[in-house]
Symmetry: C2
Subunit: 100 residues, 2 copies
Amino acid sequence: MDIIKINASLANAARYDILRWLKDPENNFPPHKEVSGFGDGVCVSFIKDKSGLSQSTISHYLNMMENAQLVIATRIGKWTYYKRNEATLAAYFKALQEEI
Amino acid sequence: MDIIKINASLANAARYDILRWLKDPENNFPPHKEVSGFGDGVCVSFIKDKSGLSQSTISHYLNMMENAQLVIATRIGKWTYYKRNEATLAAYFKALQEEI
DNA sequence: ATTACATATCGATATTTATAGATTTGATAA
DNA sequence: TTATCAAATCTATAAATATCGATATGTAAT
């Protein structure tokens, strides 16, 4: 886990928002027609719609966040779903509190 | 308190290190000849020496961190001492845990 | 095979950040 | 009041980030 990389990921309001939205998908996104529930997270299009940013920007941001291990991507059919990586987040909080 | 601004401050290894060093000045810095103890923190020169970065860079970083309310500056004589702003740090941890 | 669609990648540009050297400012001491 | 020293600010450049439109890729349906 790279704390600096995580901090950089969270140093942008759009990405910070995405992480918060993914904490409560039911109340932040519509249901997906292909899957039931949000077990694998939320598809890129919904995140794009909610953020108001372009598809390429969101794809790039999600890739950054995956690289920082903040989210986990799962491809199902044509869609890629993103959910939070709670293990990293827990480790991040712990490390932050211990280190700084 | 601006979480994004704080995250940006902590998205750089040198600044992250500074905040950690200031947590334990006794073990990270020499005693200052003008003041006893580290009640007001550590002077810029010592932080510069330890970081290996230039004086202007460190001054700039400390200014950023002060702007994010991560540190508090106190000028005494020719020296400016920087210490952690524990109130912000506590509020930051709390907000982080609640929000993300 | 061809089409359609969701997402990823590429290429480009504007903005921000990282960093340093030079200069200025503020404070003390001679 | 001048010299000195610590720190802040200014100026400059290289690198990274933000963001988009265009194009490519992978998957599924026809």
